[in-house]
């Protein structure tokens, strides 16, 4: 009995990684900005969205990890095998564009968080770009995963800074379970943005690939699912504390719009150096972490889908497309931040638009694939699960379309 239990625990730790890492990268620079903005402007009101967001996240992530464990193939491999090269090619092109936009916003997060500590972006961004490149190219999968897991634990800084701000816990608890709907356009925009940043196209590819890479099989899938769900919950716990911190520190003293996530950190200053320090350190950690994962995930996905050699264990000349695309994404993603007067906000809005356009396709492909008996055997979705999945997808499509519309409106205005 004990032996059996010990084995279960061992398996759980063996499968630890993919779900947690994906979920945490989800709280990247863009995510932190969105949550800070929600808290600074609307206080505790938006907290109720976190529970439905967690559910949506669990539904999509669970499907990916299940597909990875059962088929042993990445999502891009499956799309290629089942829907052909042309579909894959267009999807991959779109994915590169979306992810490129996200990479830029991560480097922007690195720049603004380190500027809070008085480090110029002309120093921090090039250094971090080289560090990101080096870490992944020269590290092994296992060592890199360990660093990422450590990085996941640094998210605890948000929980501490949330507590240091001494928010109104009673309100926080009440609004976590009490939905507040208002027909105020900016409120709706905020809700849509929160969902939009939580579920991104790259996550589906990354998670499934990570599950495959980790060698998780259908047998260990039960433990893997626990890990994925745990990751989703942790993501939203962190989001909760970010919102609460900004609600307590900024909204309570006068609701306002914030410029970027670094602006939110400055808003925490009256509550002591620690709260400020932890919030900005968290922002740096999140941006750097996501800047490591996103380019790598992008090149893996693209190379596997199109059949190019890939893998950090290959030499440069063995996998040229892999390395060139990887280097290109990082170099050009970082360089853009250094262009004086570059309109970053517009760039991020644009990437959100493409994000919204690509996501529905990927979710639909996922549901189609997971229901193919030939691939999934007895692991296809149950009828109830399909109902939940299609409803979630319909909801996601509706919300992301709304986000796209709002972003386009914003872009036209600015």
């Amino acid at each position: 009995m004990w032996k059996r239990f010990r084995y279960q625990i061992a398996v759980f730790f063996a499968v630890l990684g993919p779900g947690l890492i994906t979920a945490n990268v989800d709280n990247d620079a863009g995510g932190i900005f969105t949550y800070s903005q929600a808290g600074a402007k609307w206080g505790y009101l938006p907290l109720w969205t976190l529970i439905p967001i967690t559910l949506l996240l669990v539904v999509t992530q669970e499907m990916c990890s299940r597909m990875g464990a059962v088929t042993g193939k990445g999502l891009s491999d499956l799309i290629r095998e089942e829907f052909g090269l042309r579909t894959t090619f267009f999807l991959m092109t779109a994915l590169v564009l979306v992810n490129y936009g996200n990479i830029v916003s991560e480097f922007a997060g690195i720049a603004s968080s380190l500027e809070l500590f008085g480090i110029s972006r002309y120093l921090s961004v090039p250094l971090c770009a080289v560090a990101v490149w080096y870490l992944v190219v020269k590290g092994t999968y296992r060592s890199v995963e360990k660093i990422f897991l450590v990085s996941c634990s640094i998210y605890v800084t948000y929980i501490i800074s949330g507590i240091l701000v001494k928010p109104d816990w009673k309100q926080a608890v009440v609004y976590s379970v009490k939905p507040v709907l208002m027909l105020e356009p900016s409120y709706i925009a905020m809700l849509v943005a929160m969902v939009g940043t939580s579920i991104a196209p790259w996550m589906q590819f990354y998670l499934q690939a990570a599950v495959v890479e980790k060698g998780i099989t259908a047998k260990e899938y039960v433990q893997s699912r626990v890990e994925v769900i745990l990751g989703c919950i942790l993501t939203d716990v962190v989001a909760f504390f970010i919102i609460v911190a900004c609600a307590g520190a900024i909204w309570a003293h006068g609701p306002r719009d914030i410029k970027d996530a670094a602006d939110a950190a400055v808003g925490l200053k009256p509550f002591g150096q620690y709260a400020f320090f932890l919030f900005s350190a968290g922002l740096f950690n999140a941006s750097f972490f996501a800047a490591c994962i996103l380019p790598l995930s992008t090149v893996y996905t693209v190379c596997e889908g199109l059949g190019f050699e890939s893998g950090v264990d290959k030499r440069f000349h063995e996998a040229p497309v892999f390395y060139w695309l990887y280097t290109f994404l990082i170099a050009v993603g970082a360089a853009v931040i250094l262009i004086p007067g570059f309109d970053l906000v517009k760039m991020i809005l644009l990437s959100q638009v493409i994000n919204g356009v690509v996501l529905p396709f990927i979710l639909i492909f996922m549901i189609l694939l997971i229901n193919r008996q030939k691939l999934m055997h007895e692991w296809t979705n149950s009828r109830f699960y399909n109902f939940v999945a299609w409803t979630s997808v319909a909801l996601m499509i509706g919300l992301t379309m709304a986000l796209v519309a709002l972003s386009i409106q914003d872009m036209l205005r600015t």
Binding site: K3, Y7, A14, T71, G72, K73, D77, R80, E81, G84, L85, R86, F89, G215, T217, K219, L306, G307, F308, E309
Partner: protein
């Protein structure tokens, strides 16, 4: 068109959608797929599947007069409706966009296009599969296929380097054992590879395909390859196999490696496999399994040659002859006293410098380095480094020789860190 044979070539992207004309030059339909029947001929396209209105028709290879970019002209227009044929390897369904093993390049690749060669046979033209195309040039063809005229595509693709694999080096992956037989898929190419290369390939495949390969290749090759595979994957492969096959493979492995693999499995599964094994290897593996993984006992193997202290070079040669299977890696002989206690180590190369009557004891190394079975892994690697060892004997509490740790074990340990 610098290549004079280019006219004899046809890409599958060009064949797909090609019009098929009857004897009077009327269009019958367009090519939807092409099939090889490997049991009949491993390279010739045997059937063409033609879409005509709603239904699919089958054209046999010997019903065709000519094949070119302008279309397929028939010489016999009595066509049969298509009904699924399990003996067919269909290009679109079974090959395109799927993974195969490139046995020459020793890696897993994804098929993007197929190149055929047009041959004359009995007064008609047939297609032989020449290459499987991967890489950018084939991707370009797939993307613009049907968008640009084929002759333009041929001209435009000239600037992109080709990347193809000869058909005879392609190993198709098919997990279903029945279909493997019907499609005449052998594992000859895989069995000829170096086990370490095969192990790398196996790591890149899905669990289903790994199982199919290990289920079918020769147990000895399987054992060699399995030893080289990542431990997590080793375990999942063995668990997926039939217990008998798993036992057969484990038997062929060196006892220390077998013990390592079995140690990775769930207790139940490893007991089942042990149960199936033959007596002698089973005993050795059982004993090795008792040791902690990170102790000398867990690292050592029991394949060594030990001789009595009194033995001579001639005796050693005789002993070596009866242990021929160890010759590839053996580099040290060990001397034991009447109570099987370790007393000396003789580097193999010294045997060549002395005649048969020389007592082995006089050839033994000056300082005998050994380790108790309980010694920790880190200490063992230190010993190897400090004394530049190739092999380290391991002894039990009574100083009886129980196993040997070799330098390749140490390299694996260091690589894991």
């Amino acid at each position: 068109m610098a290549d004079p044979r280019a006219d004899q070539r046809l890409f599958f992207t060009e064949l797909l959608g090609l019009k098929v004309f009857d004897l009077k030059g009327r269009t019958l339909g367009v090519v939807k797929d092409a099939a090889i029947v490997p049991l009949l001929d491993p390279v010739r396209v045997d059937r063409y599947l033609i879409g005509s209105g709603g239904a699919w028709l089958t054209v046999r290879h010997d019903q065709i007069r000519s094949v070119s970019l302008d279309g397929i002209r028939l010489r016999d227009e009595i066509l049969t409706p298509y009904h699924s044929d399990e003996y067919m390897l269909r290009v679109v369904r079974d090959l395109l966009d799927q993974q195969i093993i490139d046995a020459q390049g020793r890696k897993v690749v994804r098929v993007t296009d197929v190149t055929f060669e047009i041959h004359q046979e009995n007064g008609g033209e047939v297609l032989w599969v020449l290459d499987v195309d991967i890489g950018l040039r084939a991707i370009f063809r797939r993307l613009v296929q049907g968008v640009l005229p084929p002759r333009w595509i041929r001209r435009l693709q000239g600037g992109i380097p080709p990347h193809s694999i000869r058909w005879e080096f392609c190993n198709i992956l098919e997990p279903d054992p029945q279909r493997r037989l019907r499609l005449n898929i052998s594992n000859r190419l895989l069995e000829d590879m170096h086990p370490a290369d095969l192990a790398d390939i196996v790591e890149d495949l899905t669990p289903e395909h790994r199982e199919a390969i290990f289920e079918n290749i020769d147990s000895e090759v399987a054992a060699d390859a399995l030893s080289e595979v990542d431990p997590d994957i080793q375990a999942s492969i063995l668990e997926s196999l039939e217990t008998e096959k798993a036992a057969e493979i484990v038997e062929e492995m060196a006892p220390d490696e077998a013990a390592d693999v079995l140690g990775e499995l769930e207790q139940e599964t490893s007991d089942e496999i042990l149960e199936e094994m033959e007596h002698q290897p089973k005993q050795e593996v059982r004993e090795l399994l008792e040791f902690e993984e990170d102790s000398a006992g867990g690292m050592m193997n029991t394949e060594y040659v030990a001789l009595p202290e009194t033995a001579t070079v001639a005796d050693a040669i005789v002993a070596l002859k009866s242990n021929e299977e160890l010759m590839e890696t053996l580099n040290t002989l060990f001397l034991v006293d009447a109570g099987e206690r370790l007393t000396g180590a003789v580097p193999l190369a010294r045997l060549f410098l002395h005649d048969g009557a020389t007592p082995l004891r006089s050839l033994a190394v000056d300082t005998l380095i050994d380790a108790p079975v309980t010694e920790h892994r880190d200490r063992i690697t230190e010993l190897f480094d400090k004394y530049n060892l190739l092999a380290l004997p391991v002894v039990d509490e009574e100083r009886k020789l129980t196993g040997v740790i070799t330098a390749d074990d140490i390299i694996s340990v260091l690589r894991e860190k």
